[in-house]
Each structure stands twice: as C-alpha cells, then as structure tokens.
C-alpha cells in the first residue's frame, strides 16, 4: 500500500490521526496532516483505509497492489 496526502486539500480535522495514529500526525501550528509513513505495513492497512474513507476532505489517496 502506498499512501499519498493531498496536503492543500487537508482541512485539519485530525480524523486520520484518530483512525491511524501510526501513519498520520498533525502540525501543531495549523493542524494540517503529516504523513509519517508512505508505505505502511500490512498491520496498519485497515486503519489507513478507515482514515482515507473518513477524511472529510478526501485528501488521502491510496494505491493498493
């Protein structure tokens, strides 16, 4: 799985951090999401898919092989 964060779309809701805290964080100054791991391991995939589905800005794109 490859994760892409479309940062300009991010609305700083932090939903991704709650769904997949090992893969996403937020900047302190404005809350914009930070992608910690572009190629998360299998054990993280469910949380990342949840994050992508729940992102209110559709800013998380997944490429799955």
């Amino acid at each position: 799985m490859h994760v892409v964060l479309d940062e300009p779309k991010c609305v700083a809701s932090g939903q991704c951090v709650m769904a997949a805290p090992d893969v996403f964080d937020q900047r302190d100054e404005d809350g914009i999401a930070i992608l910690l791991n572009e190629n998360p391991g299998d054990e993280l995939h469910a949380g990342v898919r949840e994050a992508a589905a729940i992102c209110p800005a559709a800013a998380i794109l997944l490429a799955e092989k």
Binding site: A12, D28, G31
Partner: protein
C-alpha cells in the same frame, strides 16, 4: 442480501457504497443521485470553490477510476420519488421501480428559501458556480442568515471585494449553536473585515433589488444569498410508513425500518453517547454514519450503535473554528485556554452534569483532541473542568 440500493450520491451515499464493497458485499449495488455529477465534496463550495482558488474538478470525492472500481449500478440525474416498504422497491422520477433487499437513505437536505424570486441559495455545485459569478468587486451582496454558511460566504465575498450586508434575526450570530461569547467573537471578525452586520432584523421576502424587512425597509443589493438553514429531503418518503418529522427517524443503529437505514444530513437517530435524538448536518458525520449504516446493514448479527462525537469546522476570514460534541442546547460555556479577546481560545460546553462539547479557534490540534476524548468517555463537567469557577463566562 443480493441487492442494496443507496438513494443519495453525495458523501454519505459514497461512504455506504465504499464500506459495503470493502467489507465484502459483492451483490448488485445501485447508487441513485438527483444531481448529474459523480460524488463531490460540499464544504469547499462556500470556501475554495467560491473564492476561485479551486475549480469544480477539485471537488471530486473519488477519482473516476475509484468510482468505477466500486462496480456500481449508477443512476445519476434522476430523483427517487417513492418508496414501497412492503414491495421493497424505490420508485424513480421516470417511473422505473428499483428493487432492493437492503436500502440506505442518504438524500440530504436542501436550503430553506424565502418568498420572492431571484435569490441565490448554496447547496449544490451549480448553486456555488452561480453565486461565484456574481461576487465581483464593488457588487453589493446581501446575505440573509449569519449561520456558518452565511458567515463563510460573507467572508469570501469581502475577500473578493464585494460590499456585504449580513442580516441576522437573533441578537448574536450563532449564539444558539456556540453560545453568546463565541458568537460575539465571530461578530467582531465580520465587523473588522468591513461587513455591515445587522442583528435582530427579520427578513420577510426577497425583493427586486434586495430584501424586504418586516418593518417594510428595503435592504438593497445587487445579489442576495438566502442562508437560513435547510430542510431534510424526505418528501419522496411520504406515505411510505417511515417516520419523517424532521429527517428520517432511526434507532441507534441508524435503522428506520427492517433493512432500511439512513445516513448523513437526512438521518435523525438516537445517539446513545449523548442520550438524545439528533440530526447532524456536518461533513464528517456523513462519512461516519454512512460507514456505520453500511456495516450494520451487512452484519445484522453484530450491529453496533452509532455513537459518534460530532465534529465540524468552519473557515471564516483567517479563523479556523473547530468543534467536537453536541453543543446545541448547552447550559454553560467556559473558556479553558487562551483568550476570546485575541481570537485564540478553547471553550468547553456543559449540558446537565456532562461535558458535551469543545470549540477551538486558532489552537493547536492536540489541545482540542484531548477534550474530544473526554466527551467520548462521558466525562462529567466536574471532572473535566475542575476550576470552572475561575474560567466561567
């Protein structure tokens, strides 16, 4: 279950479709939408799309390839006009019956209007493009309603060089939603940015060159936006037997009738976390509730109550407002961090003996996330806000 029909092709409907496929549903999945577009995002309509920073393509919620991958039977540009629960069919506007084994209603809301012709409303992409076309420098825009939508449009219109008059019936904008103190912060932002804000005025109709107030005064403008709330799209369910007082009435599983669920703006359901019935018109709720409804429909033996902490955000001028919880009808507000006078603060809300909400402007995300967690675990006000006597407003 072989055939699932989703009525409503926006954020909630899309979340239902994606969740069903992700969780292994391989039957026929029909997505019905009255707009002719693939699912697109609405919050930017009053923000980046209206400013002109984004074009319409940027609003797509998924790429065409992702949508294709869902293998949907997609019926766009056609409204659902009826539901027969006994026969398990949805009627379309062109007379076609669509049979289902499972149904999810996600038909959203539409803007409330005022008497008179020619006013803009803002709900759809077409609405937003029409409004954007009139937001030209020097043009006079009258915005009726200083709720979140009206406030966001007023801010964008000022940014685009329009003269803006913002009319609000209550004494303080958004006080019913966020409290007087926070409402006054928002008021101040409008005034600082040159919006002519008039509170306590009642608009009776849209007139030829503006709007008419209850006392007969004409407030002139080149264009009018009416942003006075919305109505759930439930007319097509009349006579179906579903309860549709203010939205589709559901239980805590988002089920309205056997194998009939509702999600998003149109759904009114029992949220056990707050021990109350609510209907939430927030973008994040559309996705969360769509996912919850899909899972409950697909797994009837292991259904879970939908008990979210609602979340919304609003961008106005240089402020980002974020809130968690259910603030409506709160009994008390306390500012626990920052200072409302400098526009950076975190306020928390009490209803009864519970902490029910937190709202932040210009605060670090981690500051508000811990309050969300406290709301999620049903923290009492006494435990969550120990020194409230010092901070109470």
């Amino acid at each position: 279950m072989k055939r699932v029909v989703i009525v409503g092709a926006s954020a909630a409907g899309l979340a239902v479709a994606e969740t069903l496929r992700r969780e292994g549903f391989d039957g026929t999945l029909t997505l019905i939408g009255d707009e002719p577009y693939l699912p697109y995002d609405r919050p930017p309509l009053s923000k980046q799309l209206l400013t002109g920073d984004w074009d319409a393509e940027r609003l797509a919620l998924r790429t065409p390839a992702d949508v294709t991958g869902l293998e949907l039977d997609m019926l766009l540009g056609v409204p659902a006009t009826g539901l027969d629960l006994a026969d398990r069919t949805v009627q379309l506007g062109d007379g076609t019956p669509v049979p289902y084994d499972g149904l999810v209603i996600a038909t959203g809301v539409r803007p409330r209007r005022l008497p008179g012709e020619g006013a803009h409303v803002l709900r759809t992409l077409d609405d937003a493009l029409a409004l954007r076309g009139v937001l030209k420098p020097g043009r006079r825009l009258v915005v009726v309603g200083a709720g979140f939508l009206g406030a966001e449009v007023a801010a964008v219109a000022r940014q685009r060089g329009c003269d803006v008059t913002l009319l609000e019936p209550s004494p303080v904008p958004l006080a019913h939603a966020v409290g007087d103190e926070v409402g006054r912060v928002l008021t101040r932002a409008h005034l600082e940015h040159g919006v002519s804000l008039r509170c306590g005025v009642s608009v009776t109709e849209v007139a030829e060159h503006g709007v008419r107030l209850a006392d007969g005064e004409l407030v002139e403008g080149d264009a009018v936006l009416v942003a006075v709330g919305s109505l759930p799209n439930t007319e097509w369910l009349e006579g179906s037997g579903l309860s549709t007082g203010d939205g589709v009435m559901c239980d805590e599983y988002c089920e309205a009738a056997r194998n009939v669920y509702a999600a998003g703006d149109v759904a009114r359901w029992w949220n056990p976390l707050f021990d109350t019935v609510m209907r939430i018109e927030h973008r994040t709720n559309a996705a969360e509730q769509g996912m919850a409804a899909a899972r409950n429909l697909l797994n009837p033996e292991s259904r879970k109550p939908f008990a979210p902490v609602p979340y919304f955000w609003s961008d106005q001028y240089d402020m980002k407002i974020q809130a968690y919880g259910y603030l409506r009808g709160h009994d008390e507000v306390a500012v626990v961090e920052g200072d409302v006078t400098d526009g950076r603060f975190l306020a928390v809300y009490r209803t009864g003996d519970r902490l029910v909400g937190a709202l932040a402007v210009g605060m670090p995300p981690k500051a508000i996330r811990q309050w969300r967690q406290a709301i999620a675990v049903r923290a009492t006000w006494r435990d969550a806000v120990p020194d409230r006597s010092a901070a109470a407003v």
